[in-house]
Symmetry: C2
DNA sequence: CTAAAGTTTGACACTGGTGTCAATGTCAAG
DNA sequence: CTTGACATTGACACCAGTGTCAAACTTTAG
């Protein structure tokens, strides 16, 4: 699949896909003509990257993070202490964000309920299938 | 309390506190001399704002969000359908962020465990008391 | 063959969140 | 009174993430 299709399937603009690649968050094979070529796996990857960036994780850290995940996938359980330390640090940041967002989510829910708008809650629940 | 103390207590720079105020996320009384004056309640408020912004919520939305919370605090269960709709929309965005971050958090944990760095996990757990 | 759609790279530009500096004012301590 | 610490406003500047546009090439459809 080429970049256009990847873009429509992920909802991420081609501009950003290229940007992420430039930031080393993505790798793409090239066809003979120079066009970028992607596999199914890239779909999830791109969504994931975009999600993290949107969640306030700077690309620099997204890379560290996903690199670790990639390493975990393989039978490659090695990891220099330094990197591990960095990940641990990042972990607390991530957890802090989660806590903060969770709190907000809950209060939005409570508020909508308290104001007789529960209907909207149910509507908001369904699209969860699209979330990656 | 004045802005300096608020800054050290929240870990948010005075620059940002002023910025948040300018973005209508904060209100501050003024002393006779023009100095901003804050109460204990502001400490949490500022932490919260900073947390949300760091979690990728643009200030414009943070305002909507916290305004709703404030409204919920009071006996003011009214809310125009339009605002409710906007909140519902925001809700799915927040949930998406949470899901994405949660996933990363879990994979970091798994990874650290798999590479014999569980120690770091415990260290990362404790500072959770400081999280707002 | 030609036109339309998609791709490539590269550049310019904007926005939002921050840092930093400057000039001025306030206040508490020596 | 002077000094030093902290405030105020306002400006300039930076970075990261994005949008957008241009010029050139490829592929597909007609």
């Amino acid at each position: 699949m080429r970049i256009g299709e990847l873009a429509t399937r992920t909802g991420v603009t081609t501009r950003l896909i290229r940007y992420y690649e430039q930031q080393d968050l993505l790798e793409a094979d090239r066809a003979a003509n120079g066009y970028r070529t992607y596999t199914e796996a890239h779909v999830e990857r791109v969504s994931r990257v975009a999600g993290l960036v949107q969640a306030g994780i700077p690309t620099r850290l997204v890379k560290i993070l996903l690199d670790a995940e990639d390493a975990a996938e393989r039978e490659d359980p090695t990891c220099p202490r330094e990197v591990a330390q960095q990940l641990a640090t990042e972990l607390v940041g991530v957890q802090a964000r989660i806590d903060c967002l969770t709190r907000s989510r809950d209060s939005i829910r409570r508020f909508l309920t308290a104001t007789q708008h529960e209907v909207l809650l149910r509507e908001a629940q369904e699209p969860a299938t699209a979330v990656v």
